[in-house]
Subunit: 216 residues, 2 copies
DNA sequence: CGTTAGTTTGAGGCAGATCAACTTTGGTGG
DNA sequence: CCACCAAAGTTGATCTGCCTCAAACTAACG
């Protein structure tokens, strides 16, 4: 898996006073759902604190974690741009605060400032690369390698979120038990340390290079 | 796997005479590579005839087919927008004709006509949905279901391209032998017919609904 | 300190990969 | 037009990585 830092953007600073007055401030608790797969989009969300997970759920309850949005990232933009219903559900991974920008206001600021559209397009382009790399790795790499690269990725991109084994597994296509077993082996190898439930990663570089060795 | 028709766009009609004179017309033979993973983008390509595959290759030669571009689709746009090196390689699946629009000309037409940027953003947004649905299905569905949905998808989206077992497999994360076995079973069930190497699909609807039944 | 969500560990099973041998197809050139 | 042959497809036997199921353990939090 190839990862890199992503794109934050202060959408809020682009708003006029009138638009700011229309913002909806939202507080959610861990486990709360912001919108459901299949809903029609009505605006875009900007994360102020906490972490939001974009997940898909199959009829039999299996989940897959597609993307994660931390502070200063926005979400809901994909469906808004493509004018489609949401293809996945957003879930508060922890207690969160966010603001909601109604579609009309978003359209207005995009119209007034075309740079914003270019920025959103760039974010989509990077998310597309990441999604396709995830697909490639799921298709061609083994679990151990995927988990190692996921650990390195989340360490650099989401240093302040405590990832559970389940979340790690759902992000890279592995079961909770498998993640647990791999973490055990990685600790023996000295690549990580476990402190209670949290995972300490001394060197993401070591993880990446070891992951390449292990990879088929 | 959830699929639908995608987006064609006549970029060429947006060009001035001066820009048209700078177009580079390219003819490729089956197996030719247009650009390599890691190259820096210098423009965008518009397919006139044939089919182009976007693939990633691992060091050990395993391939994964990420997207396919047929007549009137453009490719190379992701890297151009995000300003990154290509994350995958483009390969002529058959003999192809295409035109190359240099980056400067593309920037010019985007600048003159912001609607084009919106259109490219929409294409990216749809490609992102498709990529994430592919990921979900690879993670959570069984091969048979994936192959069936891929068959239905390519039937509706690429009716004029003769897909090989290998291409089908690389698109949905399956080995050639597995695709062959599944096709055999599907023919026995009467869902498809095999005529030489080509596959006849009487009803994509039947395939989709059967795929759902089979799915975990 | 009790409760619950999260984690670990073991035993066993299976879907799909791998390896290998064989058959068919369809394009090519003589 | 046919004979040839490389590319594509099929089929069987075997193997294995990861999942599944189950049960015990432990961290964190009110």
């Amino acid at each position: 898996m190839s990862f890199e830092f992503s794109e934050k953007y202060d959408l809020l600073s682009q708003l006029t006073e009138a638009q700011k007055s229309r913002l909806v401030h939202i507080k959610t608790s861990k486990g709360d759902i912001i919108y459901h797969q299949g809903d029609a989009p009505t605006g875009i969300y900007h994360v102020k604190s906490g972490h939001i997970g974009l997940i898909t759920i199959t009829p039999n309850g299996n989940e897959s974690l597609l993307r994660v949005f931390g502070p200063n990232y926005f979400f809901g933009h994909r469906s808004l741009i493509s004018n489609e219903d949401y293809h996945a559900t957003t879930l508060s991974l922890v207690d969160c605060e966010m603001v909601f920008i109604p579609k009309d206001d978003f359209d207005e600021i995009v119209h007034e400032n075309p740079n914003i559209l270019m920025h959103v397009a760039q974010v989509l382009a990077k998310e597309l690369r990441r999604a396709e790399n995830k697909f490639r790795d799921l298709a061609l790499s083994n679990v151990t390698s995927r988990i190692m690269q996921t650990l390195a990725f989340i360490k650099s991109r989401y240093p302040d979120h405590k990832w559970t084994r389940k979340e790690i597994g759902e992000y890279c296509g592995a079961k909770t038990e498998t993640v647990s077993r791999v973490l055990g082996r990685l600790e023996k190898e000295g690549l990580i340390q476990k402190k209670g439930r949290s995972i300490i990663i001394p060197s993401t570089e070591d993880l990446y290079s070891r992951a390449e060795e292990i990879d088929d």
